[in-house]
Each structure stands twice: as structure tokens, then as C-alpha cells.
């Protein structure tokens, strides 16, 4: 019993000392006003020291992607700190490669502003905005996937590329958190952002979005993402997804056929059962209008009683292997769980697709 007391007293003392240090730093240590220089004078700011770089950037409407709310557990908020960031912390090293550390990349949520600081942020991220929107419609696509259409209020339009994503602000017990969702609406609908969201049991973002009703307000930042659709119309586009991995594919395909009606494109989509199939008829309709568009849905589970399916069977990488001929110039976009991504990537490499032309979004 005495050991238990000793251990708990020591632990309690340590926690109390750590808390006192944090409070003392907050109220007693004054770093004063520090200069925050973004992109060599492009956006000079003066900020109160002692805050994290990420929170200061957010307060000044520079929305760096971050999925964990600044807890240092997602590794998304990478920016280049050319000077004034202090040493790289052990909490950052698991997310940064040697090359990135040499290139002065840091996690903005882990860098505390204690002196004048100089950062470089890609121009594209400086264009990211905070949007206010309302839910125009929310409909069930399957038992656990919903399509949510957001009408933009302020700003009223978004300029994005196919394959990009937004970060939805969802309420949580620890304050607002941001969760990333791909935009499924095509780029020619600038006043709408459509999302395809699968309910993750216990997931903060998906639970919030699944409970929304028409008229509800939603805030988000965006657009984010580096994917660039190949502009050469002779390059065939291959989209492979599963589950809610449909969202970026839908955007890519509709945007593609709006711009290049004759371009060759394949959509491979993996589902477990017929109850998980959605958008199939819509894509078949599109394929009738555009003969170079090919839709392949594959079911991985055995058919249940009363289920009918004339399409492909088995996991989606097997369909990719069966339908794609080797040797064509292609750009591929994959979206799904890591084992699926790995299996499809291997098949595509066997078909001669260069690894540089394979883009993926794991979830």
C-alpha cells in the first residue's frame, strides 16, 4: 500500500509541476510581439509570441491542412520554416523524412513562436479559404454511406480541381476538429460541394455529417490536394475505388467528360454485396453518352438469397487485371483501404503504368 501511495504521490507531483510550468509559461513568460514572415515578405504579420505556428496561421486565415486539431498525431501541417522555429522536436521526427528535415520542413502545430519566424507556404495553400455553407440535401446511398450536398454561402463559389478535398469543421468534446473529405461534385458546379461520407463507428466527422439535415450550417476549409489530372487527352484515366472511395472518382469522371467528351476512362469500383452498390445506373447512363467510358463494378462477397448480379465478381484488383490491356499510357487514381491500394498498384505496374502516374488516397 505504501508503494502505491509513493508512486501516486510522485505521479501527482510530476503532473502538478508540469501544469504549473505550463501556466507559468502562459502568464509569466512574455515573448512579446514577434514577426511572422510568410514567403519572404508576401504576407508579413505581427503576432503575439507563445502560440503555436498553426494556431497563429489559422487566426490569420492561412488554413494549413490538419486533421488532428494540432495534437501532432496526423503529420499533415507541414510547412517550411526557414528560420526562427527552434530545433526539430521528437514529436515531429516520426512524420518527417531525413530529406524533409534537411529541407527545413516542420509540423506547424509543434512549432511555438518565441522569436521572429520566417516560413514558406505553397501559394496554393494561401488561396485556401474558410467557407460557410448550408446543407442542401442529404440522402442515403447505402445503409452506411450518405451523399451530402452543401450550398456555399460565403464565399459563394469554390474553385477546385478534381481529386481535391476539403476539411470539414466538426464539433467535439475538445472543441472543433477538422476532418478531410474528398469533393465528389464536378468542378463545373462552383456553388456546390458534394461529399460521399461513410459512417465510421465512433468517427467524429462522419457521425457529425450523417446527422446533418437540410438547412443546417456547415463550415469547412479548402480546397486542398496536389492531384493534377493529366491534360494530355491521349492519356487514359483509370479510377479504382471501394466503399466511400467513390467521392474523388465521381468528381474526376464528370469533370473529365465535361472537358474531353471522347477521352478514354475506366472506373473500377469494388463493393461487398449488391446492397453496397451505388451510382451504378448513373455511370452506365454516362457510359452510354460517352462510349470511351467503361464502368466495372465488382462484388467480393458470395451472392445472398434473392441477390442478382451480372457484373464482375471478386476483389477489384482482379477486375483491373482482367480488363486493362498492358502498354497504354495511363494515369491512375486509387482510393480505398491500404491492402486494396497495394494490390491494385501491383497490377497497374504489371500493366506498365509508371509509379509516378499512380496517385492514391488511402483511408
Amino acid at each position: 500500500m505504501i508503494y502505491l501511495w509513493a508512486v501516486s504521490s510522485f505521479a501527482g507531483l510530476t503532473v502538478a509541476l508540469a501544469a504549473m510550468l505550463m501556466i507559468a509559461e502562459r502568464f509569466l513568460v512574455n515573448y512579446g510581439i514577434c514577426k511572422l514572415d510568410v514567403n519572404a515578405g508576401e504576407k508579413p504579420l505581427e503576432v503575439a509570441g507563445g502560440q503555436t505556428l498553426l494556431s497563429v496561421l489559422y487566426a490569420n486565415e492561412i488554413f494549413i491542412p490538419s486533421a488532428c486539431g494540432g495534437k501532432g498525431s496526423c503529420g499533415h501541417c507541414r510547412i517550411t520554416v526557414t528560420s526562427g522555429g527552434g530545433p526539430v522536436l521528437p514529436t515531429e521526427t516520426p512524420y518527417l523524412t531525413r530529406k524533409e528535415i534537411r529541407a527545413k520542413l516542420r509540423l506547424a502545430c509543434q512549432v511555438k513562436i518565441r522569436e521572429d519566424i520566417y516560413v514558406r507556404i505553397p501559394a496554393e495553400l494561401l488561396n485556401v479559404k474558410m467557407f460557410a455553407s448550408t446543407v442542401e440535401s442529404a440522402r442515403e446511398l447505402t445503409h452506411d454511406i450518405k451523399e451530402i450536398r452543401l450550398r456555399l454561402e460565403e464565399p459563394a463559389e469554390i474553385s477546385h480541381r478534381p481529386g481535391q478535398y476539403i476539411q470539414v469543421q466538426a464539433p467535439s468534446a475538445d472543441g472543433p476538429v477538422y476532418r478531410a473529405y474528398s469533393i465528389s461534385s464536378p468542378v463545373y458546379e462552383p456553388n456546390i460541394v458534394e461529399l460521399v461520407v461513410r459512417l465510421v463507428p465512433g468517427g467524429i466527422g462522419s457521425t457529425y455529417l450523417h446527422n446533418l439535415n437540410p438547412g443546417d450550417a456547415v463550415s469547412f476549409t479548402g480546397p486542398y490536394g496536389e492531384f493534377q489530372l493529366n491534360e494530355d487527352p491521349s492519356v487514359e484515366i483509370v479510377c479504382v475505388g471501394g466503399g466511400c472511395g467513390m467521392a474523388p472518382m465521381k468528381n474526376i469522371i464528370y469533370t473529365l467528360y465535361d472537358r474531353w467528351p471522347d477521352r478514354s476512362c475506366w472506373l473500377f469500383f469494388g463493393c461487398r454485396t449488391t446492397y453496397d452498390v451505388f451510382y451504378f445506373k448513373q455511370f452506365e447512363e454516362l457510359a452510354r453518352k460517352h462510349p470511351n467510358f467503361h464502368v466495372v463494378y465488382a462484388l467480393s462477397d458470395e451472392l445472398g438469397e434473392g441477390e442478382r448480379w451480372d457484373g464482375e465478381r471478386g476483389f477489384v484488383h482482379l477486375s483491373v487485371d482482367k480488363h486493362l490491356e498492358a502498354g497504354l499510357r495511363r494515369q491512375a487514381f486509387l482510393c480505398g483501404p491500404p491492402p486494396m491500394i497495394e494490390a491494385v498498384t501491383r497490377v497497374l505496374e504489371e500493366k506498365g503504368v509508371r509509379s509516378d502516374d499512380v496517385f492514391y488516397d488511402e483511408f
Partner: protein, 153 residues
């Protein structure tokens, strides 16, 4: 209690990773379910993902690697060995959820194994290396739990 170097600790992990690869190869070969085969093939490459994560760590110079590898420790490594497979049965009809549960258990074994090193009086470089290993396994565990919750396979 003998003296063991970090390089011997890493060799112990490598041996365990090879055992895991063999285990999953067998699961894949025997399974009657396509989803289980896909998952098992993915799991069997855990070792290569660990290697990839290792190459990204901020350990740069040969002296640094030499210093870390030859750090002596006075303890007996426990776990992450053939005993970790005891009670893990994956028959040919095993489900994807059972494969994922086993994989999560093996990740946990590795985390416990790395934590033993952190309980020794090690310097900052070694501590950071093993903390990175733990974080890698924890991330893998989160990913596996997510795949399990989403019922993909």
C-alpha cells in the same frame, strides 16, 4: 543477465518479422476466402513497411548508426518470438476480422517489445529510434482497427 546490443535487439525483431511473413503466407495459401488472402498478403509485407519507415528516420551519419547499433543494454529481451503465436489459430475458414485481430495482437507484441528497450537507461538517439518504432506500430494498429470497423473485407 547478459549484455545485448541494439543491433541484436533489431535482429530479434527481424526474426519475428520473418516468422510473421511465413505465418501470413501460410494463412493466405490455406484460406478459402479471397478477402482473407488479400489481407494476409498485405500483412506478410509488414516487414518491408517497417524497413521503409526506418529509412525515413532522421539518422544520417554512419557514426550515428554505428553508435546506436552498438549501444549495450543489460537486459533479457522478452516476447516478440514464437510464443507470441500461441493461441493464435487462423484456420482456412478464418474471417478477415479474425486475421485483423491477430495482426493487431502482433503489433501489440512489437510495441511491448520496443517499450522494454525504453525502460533501459538509453541515450536520446536510441530513445527516439524506439519511440519512432512504437509510433509506427501504433499507426499500423489504428489503420487495422479502422479496416476492421469499416468491414471492408
Amino acid at each position: 543477465m547478459g549484455v545485448i546490443t541494439i543491433v541484436e535487439v533489431l535482429e530479434h525483431v527481424e526474426k519475428f518479422e520473418c516468422m510473421l511473413a511465413e505465418f501470413y503466407a501460410k494463412v493466405s495459401e490455406q484460406s478459402t476466402r479471397e478477402g482473407v488472402r488479400l489481407l494476409a498478403d498485405y500483412m506478410s509485407r509488414h516487414r518491408w513497411r517497417t524497413h521503409e519507415a526506418l529509412t525515413k528516420l532522421p539518422i544520417e551519419t554512419a557514426e550515428q548508426i554505428y553508435r546506436i547499433c552498438h549501444t549495450p543494454l543489460r537486459y533479457e529481451p522478452q516476447g516478440a518470438d514464437r510464443h507470441s503465436f500461441e493461441g493464435v489459430e487462423l484456420p482456412p475458414e478464418a474471417t478477415a476480422a479474425e486475421v485483423l485481430d491477430a495482426a493487431i495482437k502482433f503489433d501489440e507484441c512489437l510495441i511491448q517489445f520496443y517499450r522494454q528497450v525504453l525502460r533501459q537507461p538509453v541515450d536520446k538517439e536510441v530513445k527516439e529510434l524506439f519511440e519512432s518504432f512504437i509510433r509506427f506500430e501504433q499507426d499500423d494498429e489504428i489503420e487495422l482497427k479502422k479496416i476492421r470497423a469499416m468491414d471492408y473485407f
